[in-house]
Protein backbone atom coordinates (compact mmCIF):
# COMPACT_ATOMS: atom_id res chain seq x y z
CA UNK A 1 0.00 0.00 0.00
CA UNK A 2 2.74 2.40 0.97
CA UNK A 3 4.52 1.67 -2.29
CA UNK A 4 1.60 2.75 -4.40
CA UNK A 5 1.61 6.09 -2.65
CA UNK A 6 5.31 6.55 -3.02
CA UNK A 7 5.14 5.98 -6.74
CA UNK A 8 2.89 8.96 -7.21
CA UNK A 9 4.76 11.14 -4.75
CA UNK A 10 7.67 11.13 -7.16
CA UNK A 11 5.65 12.84 -9.88
CA UNK A 12 4.31 15.46 -7.62
CA UNK A 13 7.62 17.19 -7.24
CA UNK A 14 7.09 18.78 -10.62
CA UNK A 15 3.71 20.24 -10.19
CA UNK A 16 4.77 23.65 -9.03
CA UNK A 17 7.62 24.16 -11.38
CA UNK A 18 6.21 26.26 -14.18
CA UNK A 19 9.51 26.20 -16.06
CA UNK A 20 9.14 22.48 -16.65
CA UNK A 21 6.96 21.72 -19.66
CA UNK A 22 3.63 20.15 -18.97
CA UNK A 23 4.34 16.78 -17.46
CA UNK A 24 2.29 13.86 -18.55
CA UNK A 25 0.13 13.29 -15.56
CA UNK A 26 -1.67 10.27 -16.82
CA UNK A 27 -0.28 8.25 -13.96
CA UNK A 28 -2.13 10.60 -11.66
CA UNK A 29 -5.38 10.43 -13.53
CA UNK A 30 -8.44 9.46 -11.62
CA UNK A 31 -8.53 5.87 -10.68
CA UNK A 32 -12.27 5.56 -10.43
CA UNK A 33 -13.46 2.36 -11.95
CA UNK A 34 -10.29 0.52 -10.99
CA UNK A 35 -10.62 0.64 -7.25
CA UNK A 36 -8.76 -2.60 -6.77
CA UNK A 37 -5.44 -1.29 -8.06
CA UNK A 38 -5.13 1.83 -5.91
CA UNK A 39 -6.74 2.14 -2.49
CA UNK A 40 -8.74 5.29 -1.83
CA UNK A 41 -6.77 8.21 -0.45
CA UNK A 42 -9.43 8.68 2.19
CA UNK A 43 -12.02 6.36 3.61
CA UNK A 44 -14.52 7.00 6.36
CA UNK A 45 -17.13 4.76 7.82
CA UNK A 46 -19.85 6.00 10.17
CA UNK A 47 -17.67 9.00 11.00
CA UNK A 48 -19.16 10.97 13.88
CA UNK A 49 -18.23 14.16 15.72
CA UNK A 50 -19.98 14.94 18.96
CA UNK A 51 -19.70 18.16 20.95
CA UNK A 52 -21.19 17.52 24.36
CA UNK A 53 -24.53 15.97 23.56
CA UNK A 54 -24.76 17.59 20.15
CA UNK A 55 -23.85 15.55 17.07
CA UNK A 56 -22.27 17.85 14.52
CA UNK A 57 -21.45 14.98 12.15
CA UNK A 58 -23.76 11.99 12.32
CA UNK A 59 -22.11 8.89 10.96
CA UNK A 60 -21.06 9.70 7.41
CA UNK A 61 -19.44 7.32 4.91
CA UNK A 62 -16.88 8.57 2.43
CA UNK A 63 -14.46 7.15 -0.09
CA UNK A 64 -12.27 9.56 -2.02
CA UNK A 65 -9.86 8.50 -4.74
CA UNK A 66 -6.42 9.78 -5.52
CA UNK A 67 -6.51 12.67 -7.99
CA UNK A 68 -10.16 13.33 -7.41
CA UNK A 69 -11.70 16.72 -6.61
CA UNK A 70 -14.25 16.06 -3.99
CA UNK A 71 -16.73 18.57 -2.63
CA UNK A 72 -18.84 19.06 0.45
CA UNK A 73 -21.77 21.31 -0.29
CA UNK A 74 -23.96 22.42 2.56
CA UNK A 75 -25.44 25.38 4.41
CA UNK A 76 -24.11 26.97 7.61
CA UNK A 77 -23.87 24.51 10.43
CA UNK A 78 -24.14 21.44 8.20
CA UNK A 79 -21.00 19.98 9.77
CA UNK A 80 -18.55 20.70 6.94
CA UNK A 81 -15.82 22.22 9.09
CA UNK A 82 -16.22 19.54 11.75
CA UNK A 83 -15.72 16.94 9.03
CA UNK A 84 -12.75 18.76 7.52
CA UNK A 85 -11.04 18.97 10.88
CA UNK A 86 -11.40 15.24 11.35
CA UNK A 87 -10.11 14.38 7.90
CA UNK A 88 -7.20 16.77 8.43
CA UNK A 89 -6.13 14.43 11.24
CA UNK A 90 -6.54 17.28 13.71
CA UNK A 91 -9.80 16.73 15.51
CA UNK A 92 -10.47 13.28 16.86
CA UNK A 93 -13.52 11.40 15.57
CA UNK A 94 -16.02 10.68 18.35
CA UNK A 95 -16.78 7.35 16.71
CA UNK A 96 -16.52 5.57 13.40
CA UNK A 97 -13.42 4.71 11.43
CA UNK A 98 -11.25 6.96 9.33
CA UNK A 99 -8.27 6.08 7.15
CA UNK A 100 -6.17 8.68 5.39
CA UNK A 101 -3.47 7.34 3.04
CA UNK A 102 -4.46 4.03 4.56
CA UNK A 103 -3.35 5.23 8.01
CA UNK A 104 -5.33 5.73 11.18
CA UNK A 105 -5.22 9.41 12.25
CA UNK A 106 -5.53 8.60 15.95
CA UNK A 107 -2.23 6.72 15.88
CA UNK A 108 -0.43 8.16 12.85
CA UNK A 109 -1.45 11.82 13.04
CA UNK A 110 2.00 13.33 12.41
CA UNK A 111 2.75 11.06 9.43
CA UNK A 112 -0.59 11.87 7.86
CA UNK A 113 -0.36 15.58 8.49
CA UNK A 114 3.13 15.66 6.98
CA UNK A 115 1.46 14.79 3.65
CA UNK A 116 -1.57 17.06 3.92
CA UNK A 117 -2.16 20.67 2.98
CA UNK A 118 -4.88 22.39 4.95
CA UNK A 119 -6.63 25.66 4.12
CA UNK A 120 -8.81 26.35 7.14
CA UNK A 121 -12.04 28.29 6.99
CA UNK A 122 -10.37 31.27 8.67
CA UNK A 123 -6.95 32.41 7.52
CA UNK A 124 -4.57 31.58 10.32
CA UNK A 125 -1.69 33.74 9.14
CA UNK A 126 0.89 35.68 11.15
CA UNK A 127 -0.37 39.18 10.46
CA UNK A 128 2.72 40.85 11.91
CA UNK A 129 5.12 39.02 9.64
CA UNK A 130 5.92 39.46 5.98
CA UNK A 131 4.28 37.38 3.28
CA UNK A 132 7.51 35.52 2.61
CA UNK A 133 8.26 34.86 6.27
CA UNK A 134 4.84 33.30 6.69
CA UNK A 135 5.79 30.69 4.12
CA UNK A 136 9.37 30.14 5.22
CA UNK A 137 8.56 29.78 8.88
CA UNK A 138 5.71 27.40 8.16
CA UNK A 139 8.09 25.27 6.11
CA UNK A 140 10.10 24.67 9.25
CA UNK A 141 7.14 22.89 10.82
CA UNK A 142 7.76 20.22 8.17
CA UNK A 143 11.47 20.24 8.91
CA UNK A 144 12.32 21.49 5.43
CA UNK A 145 15.87 22.79 5.26
CA UNK A 146 16.18 26.57 5.11
CA UNK A 147 17.33 26.59 1.49
CA UNK A 148 14.43 24.40 0.36
CA UNK A 149 12.04 26.61 2.32
CA UNK A 150 13.35 29.69 0.52
CA UNK A 151 13.06 28.08 -2.90
CA UNK A 152 9.57 26.78 -2.33
CA UNK A 153 8.47 30.11 -0.90
CA UNK A 154 9.60 31.81 -4.11
CA UNK A 155 7.78 29.25 -6.28
CA UNK A 156 4.62 29.53 -4.26
CA UNK A 157 4.71 33.32 -4.18
CA UNK A 158 4.71 33.23 -7.96
CA UNK A 159 1.95 30.65 -7.97
CA UNK A 160 -0.19 32.80 -5.67
CA UNK A 161 0.70 35.95 -7.61
CA UNK A 162 2.15 37.55 -4.53
CA UNK A 163 5.78 37.89 -5.58
CA UNK A 164 5.56 41.67 -5.62
CA UNK A 165 4.16 41.74 -2.10
CA UNK A 166 6.61 39.31 -0.56
CA UNK A 167 8.07 41.83 1.88
CA UNK A 168 4.77 43.41 2.89
CA UNK A 169 3.20 42.68 6.22
CA UNK A 170 0.31 40.24 5.83
CA UNK A 171 -1.91 42.65 7.73
CA UNK A 172 -1.80 44.98 4.73
CA UNK A 173 -3.01 42.42 2.19
CA UNK A 174 -6.52 42.28 0.80
CA UNK A 175 -8.82 39.40 1.74
CA UNK A 176 -8.24 37.66 -1.58
CA UNK A 177 -4.47 37.96 -1.24
CA UNK A 178 -4.57 36.53 2.28
CA UNK A 179 -6.60 33.62 1.01
CA UNK A 180 -4.11 32.95 -1.77
CA UNK A 181 -1.30 33.13 0.75
CA UNK A 182 -3.08 30.62 2.96
CA UNK A 183 -3.36 28.28 -0.01
CA UNK A 184 0.28 28.81 -0.90
CA UNK A 185 1.23 28.04 2.68
CA UNK A 186 -0.78 24.82 2.57
CA UNK A 187 1.30 23.73 -0.43
CA UNK A 188 4.71 24.28 1.17
CA UNK A 189 5.12 20.57 1.94
CA UNK A 190 3.90 19.51 -1.54
CA UNK A 191 0.92 17.68 -0.12
CA UNK A 192 -0.70 14.62 -1.65
CA UNK A 193 -4.06 15.83 -0.46
CA UNK A 194 -5.19 19.43 -0.19
CA UNK A 195 -8.14 20.18 2.06
CA UNK A 196 -9.85 23.54 1.56
CA UNK A 197 -12.60 24.76 3.86
CA UNK A 198 -14.60 27.40 2.02
CA UNK A 199 -11.69 28.71 0.01
CA UNK A 200 -13.55 31.63 -1.54
CA UNK A 201 -16.15 32.70 1.00
CA UNK A 202 -16.15 36.45 1.41
CA UNK A 203 -14.20 37.18 -1.76
CA UNK A 204 -15.37 39.30 -4.66
CA UNK A 205 -16.10 37.53 -7.96
CA UNK A 206 -12.77 38.49 -9.50
CA UNK A 207 -10.77 37.15 -6.56
CA UNK A 208 -12.85 33.98 -6.61
CA UNK A 209 -12.17 33.33 -10.26
CA UNK A 210 -8.46 33.82 -9.75
CA UNK A 211 -8.54 31.31 -6.92
CA UNK A 212 -10.53 28.83 -8.96
CA UNK A 213 -7.99 29.10 -11.72
CA UNK A 214 -5.17 28.31 -9.26
CA UNK A 215 -7.10 25.34 -7.91
CA UNK A 216 -7.68 24.06 -11.44
CA UNK A 217 -3.96 24.03 -11.97
CA UNK A 218 -3.41 21.96 -8.86
CA UNK A 219 -6.14 19.60 -9.92
CA UNK A 220 -4.64 19.30 -13.38
CA UNK A 221 -1.29 18.54 -11.78
CA UNK A 222 -2.82 15.61 -9.97
CA UNK A 223 -3.31 16.96 -6.46
CA UNK A 224 -6.31 15.45 -4.73
CA UNK A 225 -8.61 18.23 -3.57
CA UNK A 226 -11.29 18.21 -0.92
CA UNK A 227 -13.31 21.39 -0.91
CA UNK A 228 -16.20 22.60 1.18
CA UNK A 229 -18.37 25.36 -0.06
CA UNK A 230 -21.82 26.76 0.12
CA UNK A 231 -21.59 28.13 -3.38
CA UNK A 232 -23.18 25.79 -5.86
CA UNK A 233 -21.32 27.34 -8.80
CA UNK A 234 -18.03 26.67 -7.04
CA UNK A 235 -19.02 23.07 -6.42
CA UNK A 236 -20.08 22.66 -10.06
CA UNK A 237 -16.89 24.21 -11.35
CA UNK A 238 -14.35 22.50 -9.16
CA UNK A 239 -15.69 19.15 -8.08
CA UNK A 240 -15.66 15.86 -9.93
CA UNK A 241 -17.90 14.45 -7.28
CA UNK A 242 -19.57 15.87 -4.25
CA UNK A 243 -21.78 15.17 -1.31
CA UNK A 244 -24.60 17.39 -0.17
CA UNK A 245 -24.48 17.74 3.59
CA UNK A 246 -27.23 18.90 5.88
CA UNK A 247 -27.59 18.67 9.65
CA UNK A 248 -24.53 16.46 9.95
CA UNK A 249 -25.62 13.88 7.41
CA UNK A 250 -24.99 13.26 3.73
CA UNK A 251 -28.23 13.65 1.84
CA UNK A 252 -26.93 12.98 -1.68
CA UNK A 253 -23.77 12.02 -3.47
CA UNK A 254 -22.58 12.08 -7.06
CA UNK A 255 -21.09 14.11 -9.87
CA UNK A 256 -22.62 17.60 -10.05
CA UNK A 257 -24.41 17.01 -13.36
CA UNK A 258 -25.58 13.58 -12.33
CA UNK A 259 -27.02 14.97 -9.12
CA UNK A 260 -28.85 17.64 -11.06
CA UNK A 261 -30.23 15.12 -13.50
CA UNK A 262 -31.28 12.79 -10.74
CA UNK A 263 -32.93 15.33 -8.47
CA UNK A 264 -34.11 18.12 -10.71
CA UNK A 265 -35.64 18.87 -14.07
CA UNK A 266 -33.82 20.17 -17.11
CA UNK A 267 -34.95 23.75 -16.70
CA UNK A 268 -36.33 26.06 -14.07
CA UNK A 269 -38.74 28.89 -14.59
CA UNK A 270 -38.39 31.58 -11.93
CA UNK A 271 -41.36 33.89 -11.50
CA UNK A 272 -41.76 37.01 -9.44
CA UNK A 273 -45.03 38.78 -8.82
CA UNK A 274 -45.63 42.18 -7.32
CA UNK A 275 -47.04 40.83 -4.10
CA UNK A 276 -45.60 40.75 -0.59
CA UNK A 277 -45.99 37.05 -0.08
CA UNK A 278 -45.77 34.51 -2.86
CA UNK A 279 -47.42 31.81 -0.76
CA UNK A 280 -50.83 32.64 -2.23
CA UNK A 281 -49.68 31.08 -5.53
CA UNK A 282 -49.14 27.75 -3.89
CA UNK A 283 -51.55 25.60 -5.86
CA UNK A 284 -51.85 27.50 -9.09
CA UNK A 285 -49.13 25.84 -11.12
CA UNK A 286 -49.61 22.15 -10.54
CA UNK A 287 -50.64 21.66 -14.18
CA UNK A 288 -47.72 23.67 -15.53
CA UNK A 289 -44.78 22.11 -13.72
CA UNK A 290 -43.58 18.78 -12.39
CA UNK A 291 -42.73 20.44 -9.12
CA UNK A 292 -43.25 23.90 -7.64
CA UNK A 293 -41.22 25.60 -4.93
CA UNK A 294 -42.68 28.72 -3.42
CA UNK A 295 -40.00 30.89 -1.81
CA UNK A 296 -40.80 34.12 -0.02
CA UNK A 297 -39.62 36.26 -2.92
CA UNK A 298 -40.19 34.06 -5.97
CA UNK A 299 -41.68 30.89 -7.33
CA UNK A 300 -39.65 28.14 -8.95
CA UNK A 301 -41.31 25.92 -11.53
CA UNK A 302 -39.41 22.73 -12.33
CA UNK A 303 -40.02 21.96 -15.98
CA UNK A 304 -38.36 20.47 -19.02
CA UNK A 305 -39.10 23.41 -21.27
CA UNK A 306 -39.07 26.77 -19.59
CA UNK A 307 -40.40 28.81 -22.46
CA UNK A 308 -43.36 26.53 -23.00
CA UNK A 309 -44.12 26.67 -19.30
CA UNK A 310 -43.98 30.46 -19.33
CA UNK A 311 -46.49 30.44 -22.18
CA UNK A 312 -48.80 28.30 -20.06
CA UNK A 313 -48.44 30.75 -17.18
CA UNK A 314 -49.51 33.55 -19.48
CA UNK A 315 -52.40 31.38 -20.70
CA UNK A 316 -53.57 31.13 -17.09
CA UNK A 317 -53.97 34.89 -17.23
CA UNK A 318 -51.06 35.59 -14.86
CA UNK A 319 -48.55 38.38 -15.49
CA UNK A 320 -45.38 38.00 -13.43
CA UNK A 321 -43.24 41.11 -13.00
CA UNK A 322 -40.25 39.04 -13.97
CA UNK A 323 -39.74 35.62 -15.51
CA UNK A 324 -36.44 33.85 -15.96
CA UNK A 325 -35.69 30.54 -17.59
CA UNK A 326 -32.48 28.85 -16.48
CA UNK A 327 -30.85 25.46 -16.28
CA UNK A 328 -31.22 23.50 -13.07
CA UNK A 329 -28.34 23.83 -10.65
CA UNK A 330 -27.11 22.27 -7.44
CA UNK A 331 -29.07 24.91 -5.60
CA UNK A 332 -32.20 23.23 -6.91
CA UNK A 333 -30.92 19.84 -5.87
CA UNK A 334 -30.34 21.16 -2.40
CA UNK A 335 -33.77 22.77 -2.25
CA UNK A 336 -35.30 19.52 -3.38
CA UNK A 337 -33.48 17.42 -0.84
CA UNK A 338 -33.73 19.66 2.19
CA UNK A 339 -36.57 22.03 1.48
CA UNK A 340 -34.22 24.94 2.14
CA UNK A 341 -32.03 27.25 0.12
CA UNK A 342 -28.26 27.01 0.45
CA UNK A 343 -27.42 30.64 1.02
CA UNK A 344 -29.97 32.41 3.16
Amino acid sequence: MALAYQATRGCRALWLDSAVPEKNNSSLARTKGTPTSVPPILEAHQLTKRFGDFDAVKGIDLSIDRGESFGFLGPNGAGKTSTMRMISAVSRPSSGTLRIFGLDPTTSGPEIRARLGVVPQEDTLELELSVRKNLEMFARYFDLPRRVARERASELLAFAQLSEREHDKVDNLSGGMKRRLTIARALINRPDLLILDEPTTGLDPQARHLLWERLYRLKRDGVTLIITTHYMDEAEQLCDRLVVMDHGTIVAEGAPRALIERHSTREVLELRFSVDDHAQFDNLFSDVAERVEVLPDRILLYVDHGDAALQKVHDLGLTPTSALVRRSSLEDVFLRLTGRTLVE
Binding site: S88, P110, R113, V118, P120, T124, L125, R140, Y141
Partner: protein, 265 residues
Protein backbone atom coordinates in the same frame (compact mmCIF):
# COMPACT_ATOMS: atom_id res chain seq x y z
CA UNK B 1 -1.97 11.24 21.74
CA UNK B 2 0.21 9.54 19.14
CA UNK B 3 1.56 6.47 20.84
CA UNK B 4 3.46 5.15 17.81
CA UNK B 5 5.80 8.14 17.65
CA UNK B 6 9.23 7.58 19.11
CA UNK B 7 10.53 10.10 21.65
CA UNK B 8 13.13 11.26 19.13
CA UNK B 9 10.43 12.26 16.67
CA UNK B 10 8.47 13.99 19.41
CA UNK B 11 11.57 15.88 20.43
CA UNK B 12 12.20 16.95 16.85
CA UNK B 13 8.69 18.36 16.61
CA UNK B 14 9.10 20.29 19.86
CA UNK B 15 12.30 21.73 18.46
CA UNK B 16 10.50 22.91 15.33
CA UNK B 17 8.00 24.77 17.48
CA UNK B 18 10.84 26.27 19.54
CA UNK B 19 12.44 27.44 16.34
CA UNK B 20 9.19 28.99 15.16
CA UNK B 21 8.76 30.96 18.37
CA UNK B 22 12.38 32.05 18.29
CA UNK B 23 12.23 33.27 14.73
CA UNK B 24 8.93 34.99 15.38
CA UNK B 25 10.71 36.89 18.14
CA UNK B 26 13.66 37.86 15.99
CA UNK B 27 11.21 39.11 13.36
CA UNK B 28 9.32 41.34 15.75
CA UNK B 29 11.60 42.45 18.58
CA UNK B 30 12.24 45.96 17.17
CA UNK B 31 14.94 47.21 19.45
CA UNK B 32 13.57 45.60 22.59
CA UNK B 33 16.96 43.94 22.98
CA UNK B 34 18.63 47.31 23.47
CA UNK B 35 16.23 48.24 26.25
CA UNK B 36 16.69 44.82 27.84
CA UNK B 37 20.39 45.55 28.18
CA UNK B 38 19.95 49.16 29.31
CA UNK B 39 17.17 48.54 31.80
CA UNK B 40 19.15 46.86 34.61
CA UNK B 41 21.74 49.61 34.57
CA UNK B 42 19.12 52.36 34.76
CA UNK B 43 17.19 50.50 37.42
CA UNK B 44 20.16 49.77 39.62
CA UNK B 45 21.45 53.29 39.27
CA UNK B 46 18.18 54.98 40.18
CA UNK B 47 16.85 52.62 42.85
CA UNK B 48 20.04 51.08 44.10
CA UNK B 49 22.21 54.16 44.18
CA UNK B 50 19.45 56.76 44.69
CA UNK B 51 17.18 55.07 47.19
CA UNK B 52 20.15 53.16 48.54
CA UNK B 53 21.68 56.45 49.62
CA UNK B 54 18.59 57.27 51.72
CA UNK B 55 18.46 53.77 53.19
CA UNK B 56 22.11 53.99 54.09
CA UNK B 57 21.51 57.23 55.97
CA UNK B 58 18.52 55.93 57.93
CA UNK B 59 19.00 52.24 58.55
CA UNK B 60 22.46 51.34 57.37
CA UNK B 61 22.96 47.91 55.83
CA UNK B 62 20.05 45.63 54.89
CA UNK B 63 20.72 42.07 55.99
CA UNK B 64 24.38 42.85 55.87
CA UNK B 65 24.25 44.28 52.35
CA UNK B 66 24.08 47.74 50.95
CA UNK B 67 20.61 48.47 49.60
CA UNK B 68 21.89 48.32 46.04
CA UNK B 69 23.33 44.89 46.57
CA UNK B 70 20.22 43.77 48.41
CA UNK B 71 17.83 44.58 45.57
CA UNK B 72 20.07 43.58 42.64
CA UNK B 73 19.25 39.81 42.70
CA UNK B 74 15.57 40.53 43.13
CA UNK B 75 15.74 42.62 39.98
CA UNK B 76 16.81 39.51 38.10
CA UNK B 77 14.01 37.41 39.58
CA UNK B 78 11.26 39.98 39.03
CA UNK B 79 12.41 40.57 35.47
CA UNK B 80 12.27 36.84 34.83
CA UNK B 81 8.74 36.73 36.23
CA UNK B 82 7.68 39.68 34.09
CA UNK B 83 9.13 38.09 30.99
CA UNK B 84 7.46 34.78 31.70
CA UNK B 85 4.18 36.54 32.29
CA UNK B 86 4.28 38.90 29.31
CA UNK B 87 4.98 36.03 26.90
CA UNK B 88 2.18 33.90 28.23
CA UNK B 89 -1.17 35.63 28.44
CA UNK B 90 -2.02 37.82 25.47
CA UNK B 91 0.36 36.20 22.97
CA UNK B 92 -1.07 32.77 23.72
CA UNK B 93 -4.69 33.86 23.52
CA UNK B 94 -3.85 35.54 20.22
CA UNK B 95 -2.33 32.32 18.94
CA UNK B 96 -5.25 30.12 19.93
CA UNK B 97 -8.15 32.48 19.40
CA UNK B 98 -7.54 35.73 17.55
CA UNK B 99 -5.00 34.78 14.89
CA UNK B 100 -5.33 31.01 15.42
CA UNK B 101 -1.74 30.46 14.40
CA UNK B 102 -1.50 27.53 16.82
CA UNK B 103 -4.37 25.96 14.92
CA UNK B 104 -2.21 26.27 11.82
CA UNK B 105 0.66 24.63 13.69
CA UNK B 106 -1.34 21.55 14.66
CA UNK B 107 -2.38 21.06 11.04
CA UNK B 108 1.28 20.16 10.43
CA UNK B 109 3.04 17.16 12.00
CA UNK B 110 3.06 19.03 15.31
CA UNK B 111 0.66 18.12 18.10
CA UNK B 112 -0.66 20.47 20.79
CA UNK B 113 1.95 19.17 23.21
CA UNK B 114 4.71 19.97 20.71
CA UNK B 115 3.41 23.51 20.45
CA UNK B 116 3.33 23.80 24.25
CA UNK B 117 6.85 22.42 24.59
CA UNK B 118 8.12 24.77 21.89
CA UNK B 119 6.51 27.78 23.49
CA UNK B 120 7.76 27.07 27.00
CA UNK B 121 11.24 26.11 25.91
CA UNK B 122 11.47 29.33 23.95
CA UNK B 123 10.38 31.40 26.97
CA UNK B 124 13.01 29.54 28.99
CA UNK B 125 15.73 30.17 26.43
CA UNK B 126 14.90 33.82 26.15
CA UNK B 127 14.88 34.41 29.89
CA UNK B 128 18.07 32.46 30.29
CA UNK B 129 19.80 34.72 27.77
CA UNK B 130 18.38 37.84 29.42
CA UNK B 131 19.41 36.56 32.83
CA UNK B 132 22.98 36.18 31.61
CA UNK B 133 22.95 39.88 30.76
CA UNK B 134 21.43 40.72 34.13
CA UNK B 135 23.97 38.60 35.96
CA UNK B 136 26.74 40.50 34.24
CA UNK B 137 25.05 43.79 35.04
CA UNK B 138 24.57 43.12 38.73
CA UNK B 139 28.10 41.77 38.94
CA UNK B 140 29.36 45.04 37.50
CA UNK B 141 27.58 46.78 40.37
CA UNK B 142 29.44 44.46 42.71
CA UNK B 143 26.31 42.65 43.84
CA UNK B 144 27.59 39.10 43.36
CA UNK B 145 29.77 37.63 46.07
CA UNK B 146 30.05 33.97 45.19
CA UNK B 147 30.63 31.53 42.37
CA UNK B 148 27.06 30.43 43.02
CA UNK B 149 26.15 33.56 41.07
CA UNK B 150 26.85 31.52 37.97
CA UNK B 151 23.57 29.73 38.65
CA UNK B 152 21.63 33.00 38.39
CA UNK B 153 20.75 32.56 34.70
CA UNK B 154 19.30 29.13 35.50
CA UNK B 155 17.32 30.58 38.37
CA UNK B 156 16.01 33.31 36.08
CA UNK B 157 14.94 30.72 33.51
CA UNK B 158 13.27 28.60 36.19
CA UNK B 159 11.35 31.55 37.60
CA UNK B 160 10.13 32.51 34.12
CA UNK B 161 9.06 28.96 33.39
CA UNK B 162 7.34 28.64 36.76
CA UNK B 163 5.10 31.56 35.83
CA UNK B 164 4.88 30.91 32.13
CA UNK B 165 3.74 27.28 32.30
CA UNK B 166 0.54 27.85 34.34
CA UNK B 167 -0.22 31.13 32.59
CA UNK B 168 0.12 29.58 29.12
CA UNK B 169 -2.17 26.81 30.33
CA UNK B 170 -4.68 29.33 31.61
CA UNK B 171 -4.56 31.51 28.48
CA UNK B 172 -4.90 28.50 26.16
CA UNK B 173 -8.23 27.73 27.80
CA UNK B 174 -9.45 31.33 28.15
CA UNK B 175 -12.32 32.69 26.10
CA UNK B 176 -11.36 36.35 26.41
CA UNK B 177 -8.64 38.54 27.83
CA UNK B 178 -11.01 40.16 30.32
CA UNK B 179 -9.41 38.37 33.26
CA UNK B 180 -5.84 39.06 32.19
CA UNK B 181 -5.75 42.63 33.39
CA UNK B 182 -7.21 41.52 36.72
CA UNK B 183 -4.53 38.89 37.09
CA UNK B 184 -1.95 41.46 36.28
CA UNK B 185 -3.27 44.04 38.74
CA UNK B 186 -4.19 41.83 41.66
CA UNK B 187 -1.58 39.11 41.38
CA UNK B 188 1.50 40.42 39.66
CA UNK B 189 1.75 43.96 40.93
CA UNK B 190 1.34 42.91 44.60
CA UNK B 191 3.70 40.02 44.05
CA UNK B 192 6.21 42.33 42.46
CA UNK B 193 6.05 44.75 45.39
CA UNK B 194 5.68 42.40 48.33
CA UNK B 195 7.86 39.36 47.69
CA UNK B 196 10.64 40.67 49.88
CA UNK B 197 11.73 42.32 46.68
CA UNK B 198 12.52 45.75 48.02
CA UNK B 199 12.68 45.09 51.75
CA UNK B 200 13.40 42.01 53.83
CA UNK B 201 10.64 39.74 55.04
CA UNK B 202 11.56 40.61 58.61
CA UNK B 203 10.26 44.11 58.04
CA UNK B 204 6.75 42.86 57.23
CA UNK B 205 4.23 42.64 60.09
CA UNK B 206 4.51 39.18 61.63
CA UNK B 207 1.01 38.09 60.53
CA UNK B 208 1.74 38.89 56.90
CA UNK B 209 4.97 36.93 56.65
CA UNK B 210 3.38 33.55 55.87
CA UNK B 211 1.36 35.28 53.16
CA UNK B 212 4.48 36.65 51.58
CA UNK B 213 5.90 33.15 51.57
CA UNK B 214 2.89 32.02 49.55
CA UNK B 215 3.96 34.24 46.69
CA UNK B 216 5.90 32.16 44.18
CA UNK B 217 8.01 35.17 43.38
CA UNK B 218 9.19 35.27 46.98
CA UNK B 219 10.89 31.93 46.42
CA UNK B 220 12.43 33.11 43.18
CA UNK B 221 13.80 36.24 44.81
CA UNK B 222 15.11 34.25 47.75
CA UNK B 223 16.88 31.81 45.44
CA UNK B 224 18.44 34.61 43.42
CA UNK B 225 19.67 36.29 46.58
CA UNK B 226 21.07 33.04 47.95
CA UNK B 227 22.94 32.47 44.70
CA UNK B 228 24.28 36.01 44.42
CA UNK B 229 25.58 36.09 47.97
CA UNK B 230 26.45 32.41 48.24
CA UNK B 231 24.47 32.06 51.43
CA UNK B 232 21.33 30.25 52.55
CA UNK B 233 20.54 26.90 54.09
CA UNK B 234 20.01 23.76 52.07
CA UNK B 235 16.49 23.11 53.44
CA UNK B 236 15.39 26.65 52.63
CA UNK B 237 16.84 26.45 49.14
CA UNK B 238 15.17 23.09 48.59
CA UNK B 239 11.81 24.54 49.52
CA UNK B 240 12.27 27.46 47.14
CA UNK B 241 13.25 25.13 44.33
CA UNK B 242 10.41 22.73 45.07
CA UNK B 243 7.80 25.49 44.90
CA UNK B 244 9.03 26.67 41.52
CA UNK B 245 9.41 23.18 40.08
CA UNK B 246 5.92 22.29 41.29
CA UNK B 247 4.52 25.29 39.43
CA UNK B 248 6.26 24.14 36.27
CA UNK B 249 4.86 20.63 36.59
CA UNK B 250 1.34 21.78 37.34
CA UNK B 251 1.58 24.17 34.42
CA UNK B 252 2.69 21.43 32.05
CA UNK B 253 -0.06 19.07 33.12
CA UNK B 254 -2.71 21.77 32.89
CA UNK B 255 -1.36 23.21 29.64
CA UNK B 256 -1.45 19.84 27.98
CA UNK B 257 -5.14 19.64 28.79
CA UNK B 258 -6.12 23.15 27.74
CA UNK B 259 -4.01 23.13 24.57
CA UNK B 260 -5.40 19.78 23.51
CA UNK B 261 -8.96 20.78 24.24
CA UNK B 262 -8.53 24.06 22.42
CA UNK B 263 -6.69 22.86 19.35
CA UNK B 264 -7.80 19.36 18.50
CA UNK B 265 -11.11 18.52 20.16
Amino acid sequence: MEPRISPAQGWSRGRRSWWYHASFYTQTWRGSAASTILFPFLYLTSLGVGVGHLVQRHTGLVQGQTYLHYIAPSLLATTAMTMGESESLWPVLASVKWLKTYHAAVATPLSPVDVLVGKLSWVTTKTFATSVIYTVAISLFGATRSWWALTLPFIGALVALAFSAPLVAYAAGAESDASFTTIYRFAFIPMFLFSATFFPIASYPRVLRPLVQLFPLYHGVALARAAAFGQGSLPAISVHLAVLVAMVLVGLWWGRRTMTRRLVD
